[in-house]
Amino acid sequence: MRASSARLLGVEGVTVRFGGVTALDGVSLDVAAGTVHGVIGPNGAGKTTLFNVVCGFVPAAEGAVMLRDKRLRRTRPHDLAGLGIARTVQGLGLFGGLTVLENVLVGARGHQRSSALGALLGLPGSARDERRLAERAEAVLAELDIARWRGALPGVLPHGVRKRVALARALVAEPELLMLDEPAAGLSEVEIEDLVALLRGLTDRTSVLLVEHHMDMVMRVCDHITVLDFGRVIADGPPAVVRADPAVLTAYLGTAG
């Protein structure tokens, strides 16, 4: 187990209500830098809502979200990249009219230095910038082993490759915090093995916060797990601890059964 040093992300007593329904009820969790942190829980436990609060899409009625020691308020989606947060979404949200390489290049947007005017006039600085971004994107494509698809449109690719494209688009931004919404959903066992290895290899550059149903995968990949049920944290700790927690078992059996 890696020494979990500084806290990267802190969720402090967050409560979210939709009308009369309390989706999150005083949820707190800490994501340490350089770790993989999993959020699990039965359907409707509030996992996606938690993600949306962190991203600032859903306002918290109470509590705060801290990134390092800065409080996040009213983040607009496009500010996330600037804060060092990258996120994948459940539907993947790939750009259907863009090639794989272009999809990834859009993710590198935050590292673009030249201005819009420069791009319009085709100034040399802009062209250099574009080459630099392309190199960076190619490197990520190679790392995820999808470089051979660079010219293809996402619509024609197998699901597994598409998930990697979405991951590449998030990674190319070189985020401090990578938020993955069900990264294993729809993958084969072999692909999940690859994914686990890949995620473990990322912890030297980024922290990962993921929401996942696939229990086995979560247990193997995560350094730390938070369990939600009915909008409340019912367990929190390393995989071994969480696995042994009777409350977790009850929650899963109760709702599953």
Partner: protein, 284 residues
């Protein structure tokens, strides 16, 4: 002091026509997410047929009936021949351009058959007086038809299937709803309402371009009211009709189109989906 009552009544009559044509737009938009730019031309063809029947028989009602039947046929043909092939395309622009093309073709056909000269088109009843029987007929007809359409959608099994086919075609199909048929019925319904609007809008003079401005205001009404909300559109039509009549009478007729633009900008900057439109929450 201008005669506000006369202006209001005149505006209400115009607004009823905007509301009816707007309702036709909304029915199709709800069913197929297509704004039917050919709507004024479909209505125009129907109005010209009514005109021809009127001339031949000297009556009004047979002409109206012919127009409504023609509307149904045209609506079905348009959906089957032009819109259905685009359903799987997933391209927002394709139906816009196809319906625009149809608009041009049908308007041209009307010009070829009936020439560009204006033709007199009778009112259903005596048109004289601030509350003339003809005006009352227009307003009442539109309100009744709008009510019937709402009732059809809201309280009948057919309406339920229409809504299901429009909102969740995949699920509706699994549950045994004939989605294709439902979409055709939606177009037929809309085209019949549109034909009615055309016949109501035609008096006193019919010419190939007569419904163009009516369509612009009908679309404005639908956008103001919310394109997927029939009640909002009908209210939008009436409000717009009265407002524009006041603008024309109090400020000058050249400001009417600018006023429509101003109203639209104001409403949409406050409510991007119209006053009563629902903004479908975007999936994250």
């Amino acid at each position: 002091m201008p005669d506000l009552l006369t202006l209001a009544m005149g505006g209400l009559t115009n607004g009823a026509v905007y509301a009816a044509l707007g309702l036709a737009l909304v029915i199709i938009f709800r069913a197929t997410r297509v704004v039917n730019f050919a709507q004024p031309a479909l209505a125009l063809v129907c109005a010209y047929l009514a005109f021809t029947v009127n001339r031949a028989t000297g009556g009004y009602w047979l002409g109206l009936l012919v127009a409504l039947v023609a509307g149904a046929v045209l609506g079905a043909l348009t959906e089957r021949l032009l819109i259905r092939p685009l359903r799987s395309r997933g391209n927002e622009l394709a139906p816009v351009i196809v319906t625009l093309g149809l608009l041009l073709v049908l308007q041209a056909v009307c010009g070829m058959i009936w020439s560009a000269e204006p033709r007199s088109f009778p009112y259903a009843f005596d048109f004289r007086g601030a509350f003339s029987p003809a005006s009352v007929f227009v307003v009442v007809t539109v309100v009744v038809v709008a009510g019937a359409v709402l009732l059809l959608f809201g309280a009948t099994p057919l309406g339920l299937r229409l809504r299901a086919a429009a909102l969740r075609p995949d699920v509706a199909g699994l549950l045994g709803v004939r989605v294709g048929l439902m979409l055709t019925i939606g177009w037929v319904l809309a085209a019949v309402v549109g034909a009615l609007a055309g016949v109501l809008a035609a008096p006193p003079f019919l010419s190939p371009t007569v419904l163009d401005t009516v369509f612009v205001y009908a679309l404005t009404a639908a956008v103001i009211g919310g394109l997927d909300n029939p009640v909002g559109t009908i209210l939008g039509g009436f409000v717009l009709g009265v407002a524009l009549s006041f603008v024309s009478g109090l400020l000058g007729p050249e400001l009417v189109t600018l006023a429509a633009l101003a109203v639209l900008v104001l409403v949409l900057s406050l409510r991007p989906h119209g006053l009563f439109g629902s903004s479908v929450a975007r999936r994250v």
